[in-house]
Symmetry: C2
């Protein structure tokens, strides 16, 4: 089997005005859809970060992809995921995921790997999870991912999407948002995007969630490094009970050393809330130091930037060996990414937390998967007995996504610029803010 | 695709009177050949440790294997390779490989995994290495594995095999053996099984090899824990130059603490010879402590007891992340194991040393692979463009191996008993001996 064609589609998808410590989501999120087609007309697909840089990186790989055997291409390109060196400052603290130049090659590799696996799966009639070791679960649990947000749906003009949740800038509104989301998708755990309101109000939000949902629903909060060590310890103490039942405190503060200090001080108080990260540890090269410092107790994997599904499986085993928990990171994404996340999670024994997903924030109208959006039922994505990722592209929908991309004035994510445009002309990201 | 049949063949293969710190190889080594056959008559094969215990463990798994989908069976059984716990004393110091009860389940799993991968490969026309991530090399380098030995070939009576190398119980005889082996197979590196003669004579052997083969041939010595810390340091110092050019000192002494002390004392003298192990670290559970102590700088993987090919790939990535070298362990084996070793090595980017193999010690007459022995040319096994492991069984040869097994008086490896029978009625394994 040889690869005869590769198509790289840059698309824009409506994204609601979600807030985080990075700033504000723009009306459109950018994604890249990759198709690789074999000589006999079978097509494998994948989805990755959007904008010019990822698309260019994929195009640059075209000479190696065309003519390659999809079974062998991942081995041939393996130096792209084997080259990481432990570096002084690898952290992506100030960069949104997908914009860290240090993981550019692992991101590109991942998009190719997943498309190859989908192609192989479709050619032999096997689900991707069963190609990479075999599923350990048929249903992959995802977590609700509530955000503080401004009023308004995603998109602009004629592409304006419905605003299901309205403005959510208070603890009570957030609880309402969560209940609505849980009612719709059945999520069994909650990950709150924090770092937006004053820490005391975010503490109140979590306490209110705990009160309303009960202790059996795991709660996490992720302020994306918005806090000092002092504030992180204060929040950790204030939420000791609320985050203890299978929850975690994610990236309260920036840097492995600071995370380690937060951990030490919480443990000294008898508070064992695990610290999670997708910022302090974004690569295998970060792990030895993180372990040495006991800076993180949960790592958020993400096949999109960790170098694909097999690298996530390696990461999971490493975490298992060192007693580190494994969760999964997410960015605004469509159904192709969701199925990629579900398949790798299905084939990863040591996945100790429900995965994150932004999927509820996207709209049916932007979905590129044929037949419409992937169902999340009881908080889970079910791995169907379908070949590959289990989804095909709706090419009309891809074309619409491309049109939106062409009309879009930006070519990379910039949540800070969006804040200045819509909220505060002088806004900039300050870390730590509190 | 469903598995319709599983056949477990216990075979005995002639083995020459090789010496190690464990004692003396018996006239026959025991191996198990596994066949799993799909409903449509495609057969996947694997080879593992022999004797009653491994065969019984495989038979016990029969209810889960029959009727299973080979793509899913490995996921379904994954708890067999995910259950390791860090334990107080996991070392297999006093056990020959394959007899450690702590890795019984990972050994059984590996035999099933490899047979599934061979079956899948044969059903889709793809080599195993390209199913598990894709080859990073077409030729897998192996090391010569010279032993001190008594005169005589393997086998007994009518099954007595030719003795190619004669008695090898002196440094000069060992050099002759190596030259003969290198002449026949083209090996580019040498791993000497030590722990047999007085350490001074083993030092002399290595120095003589270095002198005769030149500094460009990497040399290793493995006394299987026969030495004290003092002796290990003494040998490390005496062979500082000889083991420095891509070689290593393997398991000079027993236990992670002792290995760490040897390392510290050698480094303090400016001697950076890496310490390798397949005894102090035999499982993922051993790794955190080994890293903490800097006790080993090279781990010998072996898909037969580390839980299969994908676990070896996880191990390799872990070693890469922590700056640990990766080599490959071997036991007396036939061509099915050799191809398993070659395929996993081909698909493992971070393999930093040529692999061990006992294969030159086995005889064409005992080979179960159709068409005869797998070729080792220029010290390498070439991954052919053949499906699965690239080999099929010669069922007449398997039947002969079963006959030999039936005639064999022993059902497990016992090198100590063999020493008492043939060399010294009072012999027992003493660690450390020197």
């Amino acid at each position: 089997m040889k690869i005869a064609a590769m198509r790289v589609h840059s698309v824009a998808i409506a994204d609601p005005p979600l807030r985080s410590s990075y700033g504000l989501h723009a009306p459109y999120a950018l994604r890249t859809i990759v198709e690789i087609e074999s000589q006999d007309g079978i097509t494998g697909i994948s989805e990755t970060y959007g904008g010019e840089t990822p698309a260019r990186a994929l195009e640059a790989l075209r000479p190696q992809v065309i003519g390659a055997d999809p079974y062998r291409l991942t081995g041939f390109l393996s130096s792209m995921v084997e080259g990481e060196k432990a570096g002084a400052n690898r952290s992506q603290t100030f960069l949104v995921p997908g914009e860290n130049p240090l993981d550019a090659t692992t991101r590109t590799y991942a998009a190719v790997e997943v498309a190859c696996l989908d192609l192989i799966g479709k050619s032999v009639g096997q689900p991707v999870c069963d190609l990479i070791g075999g599923r350990v679960r048929d249903e992959v649990p995802f977590s609700a991912y509530p955000f503080y947000k401004h009023a308004g749906g995603g998109g602009e003009g004629g592409d304006r999407r419905e605003d299901e949740y309205g403005e959510v800038m208070t603890p009570t509104a957030l609880v309402r948002e969560v209940k609505q989301m849980v009612g719709k998708y059945g999520f069994g755990s909650i990950k709150l995007k924090g770092g937006v309101l004053d820490p005391d109000r975010e503490i109140r939000t979590v306490k209110l969630l705990y009160q309303e949902l009960g202790p059996e629903v795991p709660l996490r909060i992720d302020p994306n490094c918005a806090w000092t060590v002092e504030t992180s310890v204060k929040v950790g103490k204030a939420l000791a009970q609320e985050l203890s039942g299978g929850g975690y405190l994610e990236d309260p503060t920036a840097g492995l050393e600071n995370m380690a200090e937060v951990r030490q001080r919480l443990v000294a108080e008898g508070i064992m809330t695990p610290l999670a990260t997708n910022v302090a540890v974004t690569s295998f090269a970060d792990i030895p130091r993180a372990i040495e410092l006991d800076a993180v107790q949960v790592i958020l994997c993400d096949h999109h930037y960790w170098g694909g599904m097999r690298q996530v499986q390696h990461l999971a085993k490493l975490c298992k060996v060192f007693g580190i928990g494994l969760s999964m990171h997410s960015n605004s994404h469509l159904g192709v990414s969701l199925m990629g996340m579900a398949h790798v999670a299905a084939a990863t024994p040591h996945l100790t937390y429900a995965c994150d997903t932004h999927y509820p924030w996207q709209s049916e109208k932007d979905e590129v998967v044929a037949g419409g959006r992937v169902a999340i039922v009881n908080g889970c994505v079910r791995i169907a007995d379908k070949p590959g990722l289990g989804v095909e592209l709706d090419h009309d929908q891809v074309a619409r996504g491309r049109e939106r991309y062409e009309k879009c004035p930006y070519r990379k994510r910039d949540d800070e610029a969006e804040m200045r445009k819509h909220v505060d002309p002088n806004w900039r990201r300050i870390l730590p803010r509190w």
